[in-house]
Symmetry: D2
Subunit: 336 residues, 4 copies
């Protein structure tokens, strides 16, 4: 197995999906050992740091990549298996950015209120305990919370000649901010341009569903990925919306506004997937999904909101999505 | 403990929250043993039944109640503890109702398409195995799914002189359709009128998050409830939105449209609750919630959509909401 | 022609659609000469009045009525022709109510911001000039604006046993807050209960489209109405959503959230009306509407938002909606 | 005055805002005489043409340009004055594109319905009468409708390194599809990149407010524009959202989803403009706008919906936006 290690220098980050030359050309089957900078580009380090002072909003969500996958053509499916996510620093940061967040006035939910106050929280990581420490500023509350690393941002170059900010989630993946993007997960994305040109970033040491204030426990991350390519075929049509497979669940992520449209997209995506896996027609799949869907929101803060539709494999007959590539990647990952 | 048993006759159902005389006057501390008819008023019994033929849309979601709680006044908090939910029939039904459902044209998401085809599914209950059987109509798929009884509808009379259909979820509870409303849960609702005038109905033997097609595995239910009243006080302000407490989670349900507003209401409700429990200011509570919120959707099909914000007690310091009434009711329920 | 004059005493207002006994029983063909109190129930009279001090939010939007129309049955269409609206006071008031308004945090668009400041404006009426005077408080700006009286609220009792606050617009009309509800307009509403039980209120001396801050130039009004009844028949199906006919336009008002759903409802309503008037199928009507629709928003502030779809009669072939009842009422009104 | 004439060859269109090299470099003060192809790239010519057969969805909304404006820098304001729009063909076309349109299932409002039927309408232009002819296909109805040429698409390169499809409206203008973009209008757009890189296209011979089915009377257009540049200064901050000035109105266009957010953006934009013009604080401007706002929707069909807030100059004191550049351009246009 080919292994590529890459820690970008400050000038090497990508800030968009599409529109950037690849940093590497890799073959399907490659293992990537990557370093990702945090969403704040490392500029937020103390509770006294105010976002409006220290952040450069044109340089948030730095991406490691993009990677050109040899042989990837539009209509193919890229499979990215997350082998491991390990915090690369001993602390993470979260903050309130003016006019950003699910419970804040924004440039779109444009109301006449002043922005909320700025406040920054630093979470110390306890590697032995596997926790991050929440420290309230209005009380003495200190809470050890499990460290559950995930990637906020996994995406390919968009279709239709577009170039999108790394803050955007959409059909090309991107800034979906779902806790489902965690070690052991395989993410399937439709390839829109030759080489797919995927990148990753925005590691979170922990995030709740919805990412309410807009910033998780943001932290630099050591990322291990396996890359596979599923060529287009009648049995393996590329997914319209990002899919995630784990040992226990099938998941589809829809991203749009209003939130019900994001949810609808994820539901339609799952109905399609159940049809592919089991031959159910759309009405039977709709009915089954009605009784078994899990719907943990991803984010209600980004340019598009992201909603998740998830079904437990344990409730379903055995299936082998994309010829069983998840299981294969899972086995490979164990040998690393 | 006073125990009231009640199985309404066909003519005794309520079809609204508010606007109906109580069937019983009960004291706080009463145990209710109730029977609830299914959402279809029992009219859908075979896979060949078409909703447009057999349903009377003016008589869906029949309510058992309302109950007048002695001493309940506006501003108080009603606590309803669900001791037990047992399917009262050996089968449940689900169906596609024309112009209803999350992935269907409706009277509000009013598009020019013809309605989706009608189709009805009957789920046989296996009491020993604790499962309901999904039987596909387009394939041979048969799936045993866990039976997880819940109540779709728990509500009090609305504020502001309104009378709302039993299909509506809002600040008064009502047709929230959340799987969180299950045995072991205590639901807290603000009292809006003297006596609270609560009712329950719409039992589901199983439902996924979102209730995609609009109808769960609908079934008649034997319901055991404990009723408590928390008088208004500075320490115990009534909740703006319905709250649910279980042994493991605090939950708030927001209901509105678009879906992000339902979610926002549930989040603001939880921030208020975290403030009450731990003295956190709104910014600390916002931050903490960002990292620990669970957000399993309730329904994206009803007059208002319902979103859930949920936090695991295991992540939080010990707390005693409403003076520990949940634990007290839980203990009482074990003695029944 | 029977003429009924009525100025309700303070204790005689209705605060809801439905749920209230009629103040009068009238026959179709009756002329009503009514007085309506302003939306604030007359409690806001000076710029120093703060809504949170002087308003009783349980008593806003007082309704004059309801009126029981003899012979009106569910499925019929009530026609209310607005003959005249004359300001009943020499001033109107507008204000910023905490947590209310299109550019404010509300209980639904629930964000963490403090409420906007309260401020009240009083508009002096110049009857001779036909203007109301805007007086800025931050500058010396004084603007004479045309006085364009309209009724914010025209509605019948709702379907489905519901009782709705007079703040709500929906299929039953209600608090639509559209400037189209002005002298010369005929409003068509589906009858949901015997007698229709309609009421009117919430006079505005002037309002912009959208009613941004939530309160127009609110003022007591002398109202002259003609009441007609169109019995249900295949040629005259009752409208699903409120319709308004003037000498120059056909208009449909949809009310829902999000705003696109309100607009969709109004569009579907107009496509239905174009079909009734001209026999166009839904695709031709959709196409024609695409090129001729006017869409002045009504309100983006109420419980449901209201969107208007309007077409100029001048662009269309001659037609006679509901057997030409509008022309008939218009002629009658001239003889008053 | 420098005059540039340009009719792009088929290979010279731009399909995006941003990401394309300029076809011309021009100085402020230049007059452009342009030809724009229709939104269908001229591929839809007969009522028997079905979009799914003849359209290439990767090549719709062809743009003429982009133009590099000498001296334009980020933060400046580009002023584009529309001198004249003359239909360049004797017919226009409109059609129903599968899974597109305001009353259709789409990839975002993703429901389970089959697409609506495809149907194409061709409108013959009568230059003498100034009309286009609607010909129904389900009846004999033929309607002469006024020809009111407008540009669906006027935009600059987006901020934040993005490249957006020419189907998108947003802060950079783009596919706003508002009938306000007509001869006599001056459009103000914030410059995001050196040279502004603006382009125009998507001529409509006529369009209703909302553009219900998604396609207006689409036609090739002869376009005459005057280009000006307003350098950034404290008195002339660049507008956050596109502004349009005509002899009679000030207009702001907001684009987002859900539709209420598009409207909110346009309202906040107008409140800012009223503040700039008259020194009103935000609360006075909010109040004034509440009483004078006109809100004709632009589109409820594109990637973002576009809402318009418009105020009549006749209701306001005299003002001179951007130093009176509109009047200046208007006078210049008369001398052409």
């Amino acid at each position: 197995m080919q292994v590529v290690e890459y820690r970008p220098e400050p000038g090497q980050y990508a800030w968009t999906f599409g529109g950037v030359a690849p940093t590497h050309r890799i073959s399907p089957g490659t293992c990537l050992r990557l370093w990702t900078e945090d969403a704040f580009s490392g500029r937020l380090t103390r509770t006294t740091d105010r976002p409006s002072d220290v952040l450069n909003m044109a340089e948030v969500n730095p991406q490691t990549g993009p990677f050109f996958v040899e042989g990837a053509e539009p209509g193919d499916t890229l499979a990215l298996h997350i082998v491991d996510l390990t915090p690369a620093r001993d602390w993470g940061a979260s903050t309130l950015i003016p006019f950003f967040g699910g419970l804040s006035v924004t440039d779109r939910t444009a109301l006449l209120h002043d922005p909320l106050p700025e406040r920054t929280w630093i979470y110390q990581l306890d590697r032995a305990a596997g926790t991050v420490l929440f420290e309230a500023q209005s009380t003495e509350m200190r809470l050890e919370l499990p460290c559950n690393p995930m990637l906020g941002t996994v995406g390919v170059a968009p279709p239709g000649r577009e170039v999108r900010s790394s803050l955007v989630p959409d059909v090309f993946g991107g800034n979906m901010d779902t806790p489902e993007m965690k070690p052991g997960a395989t993410c399937y994305l439709q390839v829109n341009v030759d080489g797919a040109l995927f990148s990753v970033g925005d590691g979170h040491y922990r995030q709740g569903e919805g990412e309410s204030c807009g910033t998780a426990v943001e932290g630099a991350m050591d990322v291990v990925l396996l890359v596979e390519l599923i060529k287009a075929s009648p049995e393996n049509p590329a997914p319209a919306w990002p899919r995630i497979e784990s040992d226990t669940h099938y998941t589809v992520v829809g991203s749009s506004r209003p939130l019900e449209d994001a949810w609808r997209a994820s539901q339609i995506g799952m109905i399609a997937w159940l049809g592919e896996l089991y031959g159910l027609d759309r009405l039977d799949a709709y009915q089954l999904l009605t009784q078994i869907s899990e719907s943990p929101l991803a984010n209600v803060v980004d340019t598009n909101y992201s909603a998740v539709t998830k079904v437990a494999k344990g409730l379903l007959p055995a299936g082998a999505a994309y010829g069983g590539v998840h299981r294969h990647l899972r086995e490979q990952s164990r040998s690393l």
